[in-house]
Symmetry: C2
Subunit: 83 residues, 2 copies
DNA sequence: ACTCCATATGACCTCTGGATCATAAATTGT
DNA sequence: ACAATTTATGATCCAGAGGTCATATGGAGT
C-alpha cells in the first residue's frame, strides 16, 4: 500500500495501518523504535507537529520508506491512499 | 526525480534540489511557504529534527508530495536518489 | 460483570525548533 | 575588485513535542 501524506492525520493513518499489518501493539513498536507508546498514540491520531526524527524512527522500525517526488500531474494511478 | 528520504540530510537535499529546479531563492520560498528563510537554510543543510508541519508547508509550496510505502525489497529501480 | 491487555489522556519538566532581528559569509554579476 | 544578492550563523524568546509516570478509558475474551 502506498500512502500519500499531506498532513499529520494522513501520517497517523499510515503508521497505524503499517503497525497493524505487522501485528504490533503500540508498546511493542515503542520498544523497537525508541519512541514512547504515549507518543505513538498521539502521532497515530494525527495530533500536531511531530518531529521528523521521531517519524524516521517509527518508519525505520516499521520497515517503511518515505519518498519525496514532484506532485503527480493528475495521474492518480489508483494506488494511493489519501485520508 | 524521486528522493528516498531516511534522514534530515536526505530531506534537505530534496528540498534544495526542488527549490533550485524552480529557480527560487530561499527568501522567495520563505514568503510563499510561510517558513522563515533562516529556517529553510537550516533544513536544507539537514540540521536536526524539523517539525512535520514545517515540512508539509515547504512540500506544498514546492509542489512536491510525500509518500509512505513498504520498504522496497531490493528493487532499486534506479530512480532513487539517496544521500 | 470481571479480568487483562491496549490505547488514550493528563500533568510535569526539559529541551529544542521556529519566529524574529542582526549580521556574517558566500555567491553571483559586472 | 566591487556591489548586490543569497545563504548561513548567532542570539533571544516562546510554544510545543516528547520523555516519564500515573491513570483512565476501551476492547476482547471468558
Amino acid at each position: 500500500m502506498k500512502h500519500l501524506v499531506r498532513t499529520s492525520k494522513n501520517l497517523g493513518h499510515a503508521i497505524r495501518q503499517a503497525r497493524k499489518a505487522k501485528n504490533l501493539t503500540q508498546k511493542e513498536l515503542a520498544s523497537m523504535s525508541g519512541v514512547w507508546q504515549e507518543t505513538i498514540s498521539k502521532i497515530e491520531n494525527g495530533s500536531g507537529g511531530t518531529k521528523l526524527e521521531t517519524l524516521f524512527d517509527l518508519i525505520a522500525a516499521l520497515d517503511l520508506e518515505i519518498t519525496v517526488t514532484e506532485r503527480s500531474k493528475g495521474t492518480s494511478d489508483g494506488l494511493e491512499d489519501i485520508f
